[in-house]
Assembly symmetry: D2
């Protein structure tokens, strides 16, 4: 996703005016790889104000201080998640820290924006969802791809019935690196595909089968996930840190039309194929009558707005106007269920793991 | 494979001279989709002579008669597999007929060339292998891809150790159609990938996991196979009759180099990437030290000779000179074992099926 | 064009029935590279019958005799162009022979189908056109591309005004070889582009500028042609025998939409871009107001019928039913005018050569 | 060139220490499209210090002030080109202002870095070159592409004789927009291709032919340049603001090998083809004996360092250490000669314009 490489292009004044009435006051925890993008986009929003930033690394804070000199900096997360000056907390840290940080934030009455994946376990995700509900607070999980023009267009095409009933979703996300040292390729890359799948397929998955292998650091570096849905709908996800070439391609097959999303294409990211197969079982005929339809191909224009910008604006809007985000904790929990099941299945060499 | 679409380009005289001494006399059963290519290529060989042809369809025989007027035509397979004028039989019929036809041929002392897949069951394959051995006859299974310039080059690179120890083999073979009415996409398309995998990876597979779905005619039209090898080597095969785009791509990852074979490229079918990952576990360091290598890319020239021509020449040579073909019945049996295991696994939603 | 590589796929009976009433009797001169395709397609037509074939090469005739044993074979063109058994002659020989052969055919009352380019000189083309008109005979020049699905679709889009008024036509046709020893790359490759240009752009060209170079055999092996049309419409053709890669790409820009034809694409040969530029000269504003439009991309389905088959059916139809073919001698003459002008311009290093 | 889109990623302290001994003090004129990249890269260099910035636009200065608060800002170029605090001036303004600004800078004893193209006329370029020489000052023209890994690799391959003697250079640089209102597409895009050509081909051009058309704003928006070199070496440049697709492709043909540079490829920007043609004129043989060589393809790894960073470091080094930059005024003059000749030729519909 191109947004990942973007950096600050609008610096800020050395002193900050106090938050305006109606502005959401946001604290951010984590200023590593993805955090600077979150801060930059929050910063650009009129509807909110970044008031404090936490990172364990002094170097990271120094980098941030140069761009946002007026921000309150701290190495202690409590300075953010428990601060009375903060309405909402964005947590942009490794997944194993998500639960504790989010829990503290919620317990302190803060709304929470969490980097994907939501949590390390289903149990944690359920607890956070329940806690947020009890406290009447918002959780949003940062499945950034859902805010890209491409995925929004795909969702729209599916909702409008252009593809007809879906047959399958087959996604490939491979390249060389970046190896993680705390999570496998499933937890690193598959959240993208699974959250998109969850967003595009209305039905809920029944079970997962995952296979894969580890070659270098004791964690699976390649994995193949199959997700079963009701009614012969099936999804497949191929994630791999050891591919010599970068592939970001998703095929979605429907009864009426089929779609290819190639995220590496600069312009024609999505192509809709007027293609399909019809099978008739003519009476008395031994052989099935198969007919293939093949018509025009159509590449709809796709909005190029930075996805994270749209997502963070939506987060602030949901908090300020008490809306339930579609990518809320419940949605994040669904993805964590799949990840946990996939990891179990992979460990058992493809055992079918049902999704509750 | 481009060879599949080729048709006659050299007609034959209306009368035939008798076979020359030293020429293998071949009878062919089956003149449907692939049969004409087999006959054409056999015909072009100096080392053999096609003497008879069998097909149930009068129309098919009429088509053949126009090109090869001197050929003995018959609708009865016995006229070929039991004919005293025939030394070897090429069986180019649906898989469910392979066992009976091949058995009769072997029992009548004929060498056998069989279209892929070898047989419908492991049991049948074992019986044919045993029978051929007992009768001292050759069986060759038509895994045509093994004779393409691309696969020969890949095998050579692996044998020369260019890639280093292998990590994985990941093959995608998808397009729209052609739906078969007697076998699933596993038996239709995966024999290509599995025979290539078997040819490239020296080790023998331990177990198979397969998932997939059927959407139209009661047979799986998409399937995902994982094959486990000793030592964390893994293979994956993605076959699909319901894809809007045609993809024929295989990634092969090794410790030292990685390879991409894109069979749809006209010229640069194979690319070798000087890429890799090294991981050191530095003492006292929490985090793994990962380093990525990335160098030149190299597309070796690949021989463009028609694969089937090379294969049939090799068949005749093996028979005449009593050599054991590398793609013999034993090799065909290995592929059938994988197919049978994959079909079982798919039926059981990904159950791990060991390979004996 | 894929059709160029096709070879016989339907052999013929050893004896031929006499032509049926209403069938056109065709003689063919030339059985080298392209001739077999012409004979094969004529043969497949119900509306005509190939009655005789001429080639200087015994080997060529022998090849033909095997496929068409009943055909009258001759090494003497007079046996075809002057034969009382022939209604029409297809001339598939090097361009320097076209004029004499076509002239004899016309003088003997035969209709003529001529491989491109029409003739070696404008003078010859004019004489043939005039002769045919006087004798009330048809001439058709084999600009095969005009019968491809791609060009027919382009012509249709232009005629329907989809692109709006045209701005330019920019065509690239480069690859390694095949070097000709009697004509430059202009006469070898550019007839394709120029005939397509002539077919697509309704206006008539005013002048030509050509540049290029010769590196090997004394003939230009690469050339760049600019063709000026009225009203700032411009065409450019890049032809090259010395390119390491094969490119067959044409850009056509219109005011309302733009089109890219990539003939090497298997499926999406033509893409229509909803793109454009609008320029307003706002009063009092120093700078022009430029606005760019960018919308969907659309790849219309393109008919895949073999172009030469369609063309030859059309030739026979034009002769039998006295229609004027759109690719007649007059159209062939227009292309020869451009070729002759381009060759002159190239020799004079880009001198502007007006088209009469 | 990807560097064009980059923006600030490292902000600066609000106060600046005085220049260190040995640091070059640079003033920048122009902070529009390209200026921010120049300032950012100069800023990152240890060997120099940006001391002042000029732009007519208050808005532009305000943007800069936020990032570089300690910089002296001015709307008057004299504040830079005549400042005693400045050793060298970077001029990043429209081409029609280059001459006056550079002249003043040189007359005030400043070294000059100029955005491409060097000047609007040959006369101006010659005057600046002469003035710089007299004053013993450096001029460098910002032909950024010469500092890309791709062009450096190409130059290296040519210098090492890998391609053999060159046959041709054929470059295509087309896309939609950006329309300029003061210069044609020749002056806007062709400087890239011509400077690369000048860098790669050792010989000096003899003459230019250019054709093209204007469709919208009275300036040529597409142009085709042919550059003649001694000995049948030829270059061609296709530049177009009205293309629906972006193409950045250069073919370079040599006797021994051929090269394709596709700048839009992420990884394999350069491919070297072991392809060629040999022609023998066998005695007594009517036809030329043509043989085609075709071997491996090789994509050498290309350095990905930001080109502008390398270029500006080189500029400072040349000034501080009194070296003659290879992209100096003399080199910039050669490109302006070609541009001026091309513009004249285009106006005269392809008249051959000799290069002095």
């Amino acid at each position: 996703m191109t947004t990942r490489n973007q950096v600050l292009d609008q610096p800020v004044a050395a002193t900050q005016a106090p938050p305006r009435a109606g502005q959401l006051r946001v604290g951010v925890v984590g200023y590593g790889y993805w955090g600077p993008n979150v801060v930059r986009n929050l910063h650009a929003l009129d509807s909110c104000r970044v008031v404090s930033l936490c990172d364990r690394s002094e170097k990271a804070l120094a980098r941030a201080a140069k761009i946002y000199p007026a921000l309150t900096m701290t190495a202690d997360p409590a300075g953010v998640v428990a601060s009375p000056d903060v309405d909402a907390v964005a947590i942009v840290t490794p997944v194993w820290t998500h639960f504790e940080l989010a829990k503290q934030a919620l317990e302190n009455g803060k709304h929470v924006f969490l980097e994907k994946p939501f949590t390390s376990t289903v149990r944690q995700a359920e607890e956070l969802v329940e806690l947020a509900e009890r406290k009447n607070l918002k959780i949003m999980v940062d499945h950034t791809f859902l805010f890209t023009g491409a995925v929004r267009k795909i969702r729209q095409l599916v909702d409008q019935g252009v593809l007809g009933p879906l047959y399958y979703f087959d996604s490939t996300r491979v390249n060389l690196g970046l190896f993680q040292h705390d999570v496998s390729v499933i937890w690193d890359l598959a959240p993208h595909d699974l959250s998109i799948m969850d967003h595009v397929i209305a039905d809920r998955p029944e079970a997962v089968v995952a296979t894969g292998a580890k070659h270098l650091n004791g964690l699976a570096d390649m994995a193949f996930l199959t997700v079963y849905f009701p009614g012969n709908v099936i999804a497949h996800v191929n994630v791999n840190w050891l591919s010599p070439v970068k592939i970001r391609m998703t095929l979605i097959g429907g009864r009426d039309k089929m779609l290819v999303w190639n995220d590496l294409e600069a312009d024609e990211k999505i192509k809709v194929y007027d293609k399909g197969v019809d099978i008739e079982n003519a009476e008395g005929v031994h052989q099935l009558l198969v007919s293939y339809r093949s018509g025009d191909v159509w590449a709809p224009k796709v909005d190029q707005t930075e996805a994270l910008k749209a997502e963070l604006g939506y987060f602030v809007d949901c908090v300020l106007n008490d809306k339930v985000p579609f990518n809320d904790g419940v949605s994040g929990l669904r993805v964590v269920k799949l990840l946990e099941a996939a990891e179990q299945s992979l460990a058992d060499r493809g055992r079918l793991v049902p999704i509750a």
